[in-house]
């Protein structure tokens, strides 16, 4: 079984980000980057499926040269080889989906795993767009995957419970939080990852039109909520709920 997993380079979700004063973007001067946490889950699941069913795991990243750091991280987790599609500047989810489509047409994997959303733009679109562009099925927000012959049985985290679906392979799965607990690469694995194959394409080589459909015109700080008061005890809180907030 050949599995392709995506790794997106994102701003560290545990760091507080700030919008630049002119609204042109995020102030990246003191921000570090890491693999999108949901993509890490996607890579982990790919490795687990390989451990059970055999095959190969390929990690793919799209973006600037720096994105190779995150592809190498995927390789240090245990992926067999990496692909980097080098691009410059802004891409919307649609451009990314079309780039991934062309990589998939070259690689022809049986299963493609992506994080359900990237924690920077929070778009939650690429897996679904990609499935439609390929004419494949999609199983989004997966919390459990069982592979049998040519189908995947996937439990999906949906509002109100768990939905179970069956999907023909090849197909697209997007990973939700509880799918697994990603491993931490050990130092020898990090060394090994540096020697693994990393194929580089540029987007024009893949023949992908880079015109986005959605353009970010401006970013702004959201309206901040002001902190309120600290109450000393339960009777004071109840008084506040009644007299100030008027919710009881």
């Amino acid at each position: 079984m050949k599995i392709l997993a995506t790794v997106k380079r994102v701003t560290d979700p545990d760091m507080k980000i700030k919008v630049k004063e002119d609204g042109s973007g995020i102030d990246l001067s003191s921000i570090s980057f890491k693999v999108n946490p949901f993509d890490e889950i996607a890579v982990e699941e790919s490795l687990k499926i390989k451990e059970t069913h055999g095959g190969e795991v390929v990690v793919v990243g799209v973006g600037s040269r720096n994105a190779q750091t995150e592809i190498r991280y995927g390789l240090s987790m245990g992926a067999d080889r990496g692909i980097h599609v080098q691009t410059e500047g802004y891409m919307d989810s649609d451009v990314v989906a079309r780039i991934l489509k062309s990589v998939i047409e070259i690689e022809q994997p049986d299963l493609v795993l992506l994080g359900k959303q990237a924690v920077d733009d929070d778009n939650n679109q690429v897996a679904q767009l990609l499935a439609e562009y390929l004419g494949w099925g999609q199983a989004c927000f997966a919390s459990k995957i069982d592979i049998t012959n040519s189908t995947a049985r996937v439990e999906r985290e949906v509002d109100g419970g768990i939905e179970v679906i069956e999907m023909d392979l090849p197909g697209i799965v997007s990973a939700d939080l509880r799918l697994n607990e990603p491993r931490y690469p050990a130092l020898p694995d990090v060394m090994k990852a540096n020697k693994k194959e990393l194929k580089i394409y540029n987007s024009s080589e893949l023949g992908v039109e880079m015109q986005p459909k959605v353009i970010v015109k401006q970013l702004a700080e959201p309206p901040r909520r002001k902190g309120g008061c600290i109450v000393p005890d339960v009777p004071a809180l109840i008084r506040w709920l009644k007299e100030e907030a008027k919710v009881i």
Binding site: S93, D121, Q128, C140, G160, V164, Q211, L219, V234, V247
Partner: protein, 319 residues
């Protein structure tokens, strides 16, 4: 004349409240775009749902019924939505945010060669506003394609009220294609409590709860209000409660009248899902917890001591 098309989300024979919030947005958008307002009800034997939406002032309600449409799969519903969008000359196709809309709408966007906005909160007739980076940035976005597809953040819009006008219902026959995915089963989270996105009061527990058994303290308090239970990602990660309860960037977005955060530090990603609540109360023993920066009222205390006391005192107050 072009249209604004809103896909209706329903469950167990009832329209989701979040769809009625999205309907308020769709009414405004139709005015701004000088377009007709059309609703789309997809499913199996769902004419009652279409009928219940007749007093909401839509110019048209499209009804597409088939046994194969009983469960929303992105392939089947996506096909139907895109076909109806073409028939009614839609310039905007939307659905309320949630796992159904997020699963379905990108597929519709790809079919219509349209730009897609996830979880929009504002539209001025030209540009859209949505949040990014866990709510730490508001982006103004322009869509360059003739059609826009979107999910609509329900918490940003009031619930639509019936206006009394009687919309027409048109039954459309749309052949459903063979698909590569099949629905097997839905395991519903059994709960007598409302969903956090629809409740007037939400009480959430976080890492400070220390274990699944202590969520009883959360339940006892929220039940006084007929409210919902929520949780932070830390509590979900620890396996104490199902992901369906998660409030935050990667979970649900809620905006109840009263949100009580118990043992929740207030990580950026949690605040993203609840900061639009009308009144926020935080209970945490760490006085430096960031949750106090957004709370309207904070109580610095040990939750295991304070929660039973608060529940008891509120019970007396409400009686």
């Amino acid at each position: 004349m072009s249209s604004v098309l809103l896909v209706v989300e329903h469950r167990n024979g009832k329209t989701k409240t979040a769809t009625l919030n999205a309907l308020t947005f769709a009414q405004q958008a139709a005015k701004k775009l000088e377009a007709k307002l059309c609703l789309l009800v997809i499913g199996n034997a769902v004419q009652d749902i279409a009928a219940s939406l007749r007093p909401f002032g839509a110019d048209m309600i499209y009804l597409v019924e088939d046994e194969s449409l009983e469960h929303c799969t992105a392939e089947t519903w996506g096909h139907v939505t895109a076909e109806v969008a073409k028939q009614c000359d839609a310039v905007f196709v939307g659905m309320n945010s949630g796992t159904t809309g997020r699963n379905l709408m990108p597929r519709v966007a790809a079919k219509l060669d349209a730009g897609m906005i996830t979880d929009l909160i504002e539209f001025d007739g030209e540009d859209y506003i949505r949040e990014m980076w866990a709510g730490n940035a508001q982006a103004t976005l322009a869509v360059v394609t003739p059609i826009t597809v979107a999910t609509i953040q329900g918490t940003a819009f009031a619930t639509a009220e019936p206006s009394g006008e009687d919309s027409l219902i048109t039954l459309l026959e749309i052949p459903v294609p063979e698909t590569r995915t099949r629905f097997l089963e839905m395991r519903e989270t059994r709960s007598d409590r409302p969903d956090a996105t629809e409740a007037r009061v939400v009480v959430s527990g976080g890492r400070g709860m220390k274990g699944p058994e202590n969520f009883k303290l959360i339940e006892d308090l929220t039940d006084l209000f007929g409210g919902a239970v929520g949780a932070s990602r830390a509590a979900v990660d620890s396996g104490w409660i199902s992901n369906d309860f998660q409030v935050g960037q990667t979970g649900k977005n809620v905006a109840p009248d009263l949100y009580v955060a118990v043992g929740i530090s207030g990580a950026i990603q949690h605040l993203a899902g609840m900061k639009n609540s009308k009144v926020i109360v935080a209970i945490n023993k760490d006085e430096d917890a960031p949750i106090f920066e957004v709370a309207d009222a904070g109580l610095v205390a040990d939750l295991f001591k304070i929660m039973p006391e608060l529940t008891e005192a509120l019970k007396n107050e409400l009686e």
